[in-house]
């Protein structure tokens, strides 16, 4: 027989004025299993807690119901008090007499009875409570950051400076990401590479950071604190240790006409190349799809010329498996292509470009060395039209969300253009100007007021080529919908920011959720923005939603703080409110039949497969197992399980059934 103590709190007048607490305490004495029942003015006060602890000892109580305020308020308080009296804290439950009874009902018999009912339910529950113990999970103090853009670099640096090892994985040959492609940055117009390059170098030289460029995550097993990550190191066809980065191979490579990804197709590169001069690491890779040797079996010019003999044509991809404690995703974004807009001629005109292409045109390190030349004929464009929201906020053809960065970079582009072509005319078609941010609106105003950029609020319905010009037909909605026609030399579409190539596959590899658009889903939109719902995996930057640089960096530091926090203990302690698959003696082993219908019900990918083997190693039964490191205790699997093999500690079937039987 249980020995349960019931402690009814008056909460001053809060409960006491409406509920007859003395009577409730008296009524509770009659509940079978209740060994002690008392009421007190302020249960949560020091004397209150002390009284409770003494009663626990004196009456040898093994369970406690505190009838007071909401458990959301004081459950930790009373559980701690109970624990200090030597009873397992999970043997304490709270009946909510204040928020759910005295504050919401009128004084009277019915309210007092309800209060007693609320206690009765929990007394029956507690008879089925079991002592629970916090779950401890060991932690490997090495983080992996996936994506080497500005976000990834920031995460890596912050964690590394916090004293922990970081592996920074980047799929392209160099870290730097999109930011390295930008000309200047809003709202300060400082040179993007000038501020980024030092960070890149710092990351490369940091003793706690291991760079794995030209590498991709192939497989992730395990769980928080204990991931096993397999990374594919793609073959650079080069011995990185021998290569000095002298660049001779690049100069002499005969194959020079390859469209250059870094310059967004506006320039060319060689088959053996570094993406850009400031690349980190400054070691080339051979593009095997375009290399003459791989196509014809002849050439090998680079091999012949390499002063250190670093070229390795036979090099293969390498798979490396690493023990990792936490993972941060910082895989960034891509821009929607210009060819999805039929009304803009499917991007067939070379002079209709996207924002990133404009960055390259405006960049001093770009294909035109920063001189404004339009791609079709190299002429200086006299009139440039910028179209914001190309594909963004467009339910029919594009994406319904706002891409967030375009208002700002469009203003920047128009400004940069005007700075380079003083006589030029710049027009911006926009829907709304969303310039919320420090110095952002001022920046846009500057473009309009000081640099004389013509802002037209309206959409562009059509662009067509006529006599070497691009005729942009739009409407000015602030002029009553007046049609506007601009004969431009170049059009820049601020195309939508989209989730990066392969992000859905990566999400599946890591078992994190993603939204309809392929952006990774945060664990909570407001309160857990840098966590995913898979414990131990965090987010930074535009892989979660469109983000600009300052936000990305802020989020990166946030994610880094989460990782460093996680790494601050040898073990991870978690609430034992987790689901458990029951285990039984042979021959049943468990009520689980291994149908795995629960698998997709788990929001946390916490359900694993467990094989029961005979002594000879033969698989007798395959069961579900819930990883207590990943389970958050929602109980969705419990309700899904037909055989009731899964139960939720703290809210078990027996507990809830007992509560229901009391109603």
């Amino acid at each position: 027989m249980s020995r349960i103590g019931v402690f009814t709190c008056h909460c001053g007048e809060n409960i006491g004025a409406t509920v007859d607490c003395a009577k409730v305490a008296e009524m509770c004495k009659d509940i079978p299993g209740v060994a002690y029942s008392v009421d007190y003015k302020y249960m949560c006060s020091d004397p209150g807690q002390r009284m409770m602890q003494e009663a626990i000892k004196e009456h040898k109580l093994d369970g406690v119901v505190v009838a007071a305020c909401s458990p959301r308020m004081h459950e930790p308080t009373f559980r701690r008090a109970v624990a200090n009296a030597g009873v397992n804290p999970y043997m304490c439950e709270m009946a909510n007499l204040r928020e759910h009874c005295s504050w919401v009902h009128e004084k009277g018999e019915a309210t007092t009875h309800k209060a007693a009912d609320l206690i009765r339910v929990l007394v029956e529950k507690i008879k089925h409570n079991e002592p629970l113990f916090p779950i401890k999970v060991p932690v490997t103090r090495t983080a992996m950051v996936i994506g080497g853009g500005v976000g990834g670099i920031q995460v890596a640096l912050d964690i590394a400076n916090g004293g922990h090892k970081v592996v920074l994985v980047e799929k392209s040959p160099s870290i730097g990401g999109h930011m390295s492609q930008l000309s200047e940055t809003f709202p300060t117009l400082d040179c993007s590479q000038c501020i980024l390059t030092p960070r890149m170098v710092e990351a490369a030289q940091h003793p706690n950071i291991t760079l794995m460029t030209y590498s991709e995550v192939e497989k992730v097993d395990g769980f928080i604190g204990n991931f096993k990550v397999t990374v594919r190191k793609k073959a650079r066809k080069l011995d990185e240790k021998l290569c000095t980065g002298c660049g001779l191979c690049i100069q002499k490579c005969p194959n020079k006409k390859i469209s250059d990804e870094f310059n967004e197709g506006l320039g060319t590169r060689t088959a053996i190349y570094v993406p850009f001069p400031q690349a980190v690491p400054n070691k080339p890779v051979i593009d095997t799809l375009n290399c003459t040797f791989y196509k014809t079996g002849k050439c090998k010019v680079c091999e012949k010329l390499c002063p250190t003999g670093a070229i390795r044509f036979e090099q293969e991809d390498e798979l490396v498996t690493l023990d990792i404690g936490a993972i941060v995703l910082a895989t960034g974004f891509k821009l929607m292509k210009t060819d999805v807009f039929p009304e803009y001629g499917y991007g067939k005109s070379k002079d209709i470009i996207d924002g990133m292409q404009f960055e390259r045109l405006a960049s001093a390190s770009g294909p035109t060395s920063g001189v404004m030349k339009r791609p079709s004929d190299g002429k200086e464009p006299e009139t440039v039209v910028f179209i914001a929201c190309s594909g963004s906020r467009d339910r029919s053809k594009g994406v319904p969300y706002c891409s967030k960065i375009c208002c700002m970079y469009t203003a920047k582009h128009a400004m940069l253009y005007k700075h380079k072509v003083h006589s030029g005319k710049a027009y911006v078609f926009y829907m709304d100007i969303r310039a919320a941010g420090k110095d952002y609106d001022e920046f846009v105003r500057r473009a309009i007021e000081e640099d004389d950029v013509k802002y037209i609020r309206g959409r562009v319905s059509k662009i067509y080529e006529e006599d070497g010009k691009l005729v942009v037909m739009g409407a000015d909605t602030l002029m009553g919908g007046e049609p506007v026609e601009i004969r431009a030399d170049m059009v820049v579409l601020a195309t939508a920011v989209q989730s990066n190539e392969g992000s859905e596959e990566l999400a599946q590899t890591l078992h994190v959720s993603y939204d309809t658009y392929g952006f990774f889903a945060e664990a909570h939109p407001k309160l857990r923005p840098v966590e995913t719902n898979t414990a131990g995996i965090f987010l930074a930057g535009a892989c979660q939603a469109p983000r600009d640089i300052p936000e990305t960096v802020a989020q990166a530091s946030g994610a880094a703080a989460k990782v460093v926090g996680l790494f601050s203990n040898d073990e991870l302690t978690r609430e034992p409110i987790v689901a458990v698959v029951n285990r039984l003696p042979a021959p049943a082993y468990s009520h689980c039949v291994g149908c795995f219908l629960c698998l997709s019900a788990c929001p946390y990918q916490a359900i694993e497969q467990e094989e029961i083997k005979s002594r000879s190693g033969e698989v007798i039964k395959t069961l579900a197992r819930i990883n207590p490191g990943l389970c958050q205790g929602c109980g969705t699997c419990v309700a899904t399980c037909r055989t009731k093999a899964i139960d939720l500690q703290g809210f078990s079937n027996e507990q809830i059934y007992a509560e229901l039987m009391t109603l």
Partner: protein, 287 residues
């Protein structure tokens, strides 16, 4: 193949040649047309701006009559008519309470089961047969002009793509024509101002005519009576406005196909055009 037919007012008036050529071509392709008995105006140009109930009742009556006649599908060659019929049908489906009110107004039951098709949809189904029967390939450069109503709003018409549609281009290719790359396929011709503001028509349609010629088209092909009357009937105003003499003819798609099938130009109503349908060396060229 047998199909219901709703000519609408324009096809009995200003665009008789659309009616004639539609009937002629479909007859040649073995399609029987059964006219909706006692049909009325669909309310196209004005009803929907003036009286919502009327704008639903007029098309509903036509559709109800078609149901009574046992028709499951009706062809409305006029783009405005088919657009109105579709809009009304969809709205009544979404709002059962409106449907009850409209049934009372038109004094007959309305189910909304009749499928409404435009001329391009019908011709598209017959494309193989057309290609087989081509006698005189129409080896001209053409600008296919869809106008506003055939493909828009996409949720209502649910036909072809709203930007850069293709169905007419493909039909024209099937009869030997070469469609030019043309950005103005769905630009407005100024339809509703055909009578009241011919200056706007001249400007809007002028742009179309000029660009079609610039891109080397020998003819502008249309599938809407409004478009046609603006491009044809208002050519004088257009030319005045542009200070040019554009002689490029505007033809209905049914006329082009009719010619390719070897039908008599008179049966296709070609003689009714204001801009003569002649393809001399200079026909499309500005003088």
């Amino acid at each position: 193949m047998r199909i219901g037919y709703y000519p609408g007012c324009s096809l009995l008036g200003s665009s008789r040649e659309f009616d004639e050529s539609t009937r002629a071509v479909l007859k040649a392709l073995g399609v029987e047309l059964e006219q909706v008995p006692d049909w009325n105006c669909c309310g196209a140009s004005s009803a929907h701006i003036l009286n919502h109930e009327l704008s639903l009742a007029l098309p509903a009556r036509i559709l109800a009559l078609a149901e009574q006649a046992g028709l499951t599908e009706i062809l409305a060659p006029c783009a405005a008519c088919s657009n109105r019929l579709l809009s009304a049908q969809q709205e009544l489906e979404k709002h059962p309470e409106l449907k009850a009110a409209i049934e009372k107004a038109i004094e007959m039951p309305y189910q909304g089961t009749v499928k409404i098709v435009n001329i391009l949809e019908v011709l598209d189904r017959l494309k193989d047969r057309i290609a087989e029967k081509v006698k005189a390939p129409f080896t001209k450069h053409v600008a296919s002009y869809y106008g506003c109503l055939l493909v828009r709003p996409p949720r209502v018409v649910n036909f072809d793509r709203p930007e850069d549609p293709q169905s007419m281009d493909l039909l024209l290719k099937a009869v030997g024509a070469t469609p030019v790359e043309w950005p103005f396929k769905t630009e407005c011709c100024g339809a509703a101002f055909s009578v009241t503001r011919t200056d706007i028509v001249a400007k809007l349609s002028g742009k179309l005519v000029k660009d079609a010629v610039n891109r080397g088209a020998d003819a502008i092909v249309v599938a809407c009576p409004m478009c046609h009357s603006n491009l044809d009937l208002r050519r004088a105003e257009i030319n005045d406005y542009l200070q040019k003499e554009y002689a490029i003819p505007a033809m209905f798609i049914t006329q082009v196909i009719g010619l390719a099938l070897g039908l008599d130009p008179r049966d296709l109503g070609l003689h009714r055009h204001m801009v003569p349908v002649e393809f001399t060396e200079t026909a499309g060229v500005q003088s």
